[in-house]
Every structure is written in C-alpha cells, then in structure tokens.
Symmetry: C2
Subunit: 152 residues, 2 copies
C-alpha cells in the first residue's frame, strides 16, 4: 500500500462525525486530522451550535489539532473530510500547511478544490497539499442529500 | 455623507489593532466589526500566540461578533480591515453575510478580493458584501513593510 493511500478507517471516522452533525441539525460534514497514523482531532459542522460562521468540520479539526500541537503549522498532518472544502476551508488548509487532503464528495456549488476558485491552483496559494478525492463520495453525498430533503 | 462612507474612526481602530499585533510579534493586520454605528469586536492577528492558523484579524473579529450576537449571520454588520482579506477570510466574510467590507492596502500576493481568486466575483460565492477599498492604505502598507523588514 502506497503511503499516501487513503485509510478507510479515517474516512469512516469523518463520516461518523458527519452523521453526528445531522443529529445536531447541522449540515452533515465531518473531518479528521491525522498524524503519525492516529486521529488527532475529529469534528463535525457546528456553525449553528457555536454561532460561528467559520465552524465547518475541517476548520474545527484543524484548529483543535493546531492547539494540541501548540503550533499553527501542521506540516506532518493529513486531513480527511467528507465533502470538498469550501473557499474558506481551502484557505485554512493552505495556511496550516497540511501535508495531504483526502476528501469524499465533490461540491460544485460551494467547493474550492476541483470546483469554484480552485484555490490550490491559484498563484496566491502559498502551500498545496497532495490531494486525493472521491473517497466514499456517494455515502458523503447521500448524507447531505437526505439532510437537505428533510429540511425542505 | 453617504451611509456607506467609511468612518475614519473605525479604520483608525483597526490600524491600532494592527500596531498592537506588531508589538506581539504577529503580522500587523487589524480588523473591526461594526454594528449600528458602534464597534462590536476589534482584533489583531494572533496566529502564533493562539497556535491557530485561522487566527487572522478579520476571522477573530467575525467570530467574536457572532458569539456576542448569538448567530452565525452578521447581515447588519460591517467589517473594517487594514489589509485586503485572504482567501480564507474572504470565505468567512461571505459565510457571515457581512453587509459591507472596508479595507486598506491591497495584497497582490495573498489577497482574494481584487487579487488572486477574486472570490466575491466567483459563481460559488453565495454572498457579496458592498466593498470599499484603499482606505488609509498607505498607513496599513507601511506597518506591514516595517514588520517584514525588521524580521529579515
């Protein structure tokens, strides 16, 4: 197995966080920061609960991992997230200098990796992680679809 | 005076936060969230102090304002920031639904409003504030230049 191959258990943990977000009435996205083969931080979306527009799963997981390590640079960490990161989260991934980004479903309406501003291809992006997409994408997408259907 | 005209005292307060950031050894950027003619939150960059890659001035000010108001939507608030927001911060400005964005110096290397990904012109941007740029830009730029000169 290539060192960079996605670990199914880490994406499963991210999906679990997404499911828990649904139960809280939050958009079901989950994220995990991994370091040296272990989960350092696992978070789901909490924008409403925390009254914080930045409280996306990946933002919370990155913040927590950075706080635990006592540094704003996570160069030896990888991020697993169930949905393609938005523009804000692509930005914090670059600032945090994450090594690898593994994500599930694409987000044509709000994503910023393969969609929208494609931030990691922009000249103003100062750090580009290795990127692996489409990991358990249909499960992540189904969670989101179910969430938005029940809220309409 | 047009309602949207920049209030000099609010940008002065943002510059004051930028100066205080310099004293803490942080990149000198300051930001203020204003609501109904009063400062709701004023913050400077604290990425190192907080070991938080997301702790830019505007991100901290938006988070604090949202916490104070108990909502993730700041539709009746304006943001003053000394430097053109980066991609991450342009993202959170859109998520927070801020009404107006007033900024100082342009940031061709890392900005995302008139530079880089120009997020507010992207189809994946769900909210565009009114934007006013160049406010006390030379003072904001001088603070940044001095900071980086002394660190080389």
């Amino acid at each position: 197995m290539n060192e960079a191959t996605a670990r199914p258990d880490f994406m499963e943990r991210a999906l679990e966080e997404a499911r828990k977000a649904t139960e809280r009435g939050e958009v079901p996205v989950g994220a995990v920061v991994v370091r040296e083969g272990a989960v350092l931080a696992a978070e789901g979306n909490r924008t409403r609960e925390l009254a914080d527009p930045s409280a996306h799963a990946e933002m919370l997981a990155i913040r927590r991992a950075a706080a635990l390590l006592g540094t704003d640079r996570l160069s030896d960490c990888d991020l697993y997230v169930t949905l393609e990161p938005c523009t804000m989260c692509a930005g914090v991934i670059a600032w945090a200098r994450l090594r690898r980004l593994y994500y599930g479903a694409a987000d044509p309406k709000g994503g910023a990796v393969e969609s929208g501003v494609r931030f990691f291809s922009a000249p103003t992006c100062h750090h580009v992680p290795e990127i692996y997409d489409g990991i358990r994408a249909s499960e992540a997408a189904t969670l989101l679809k179910s969430f938005f259907v029940t809220r309409r």
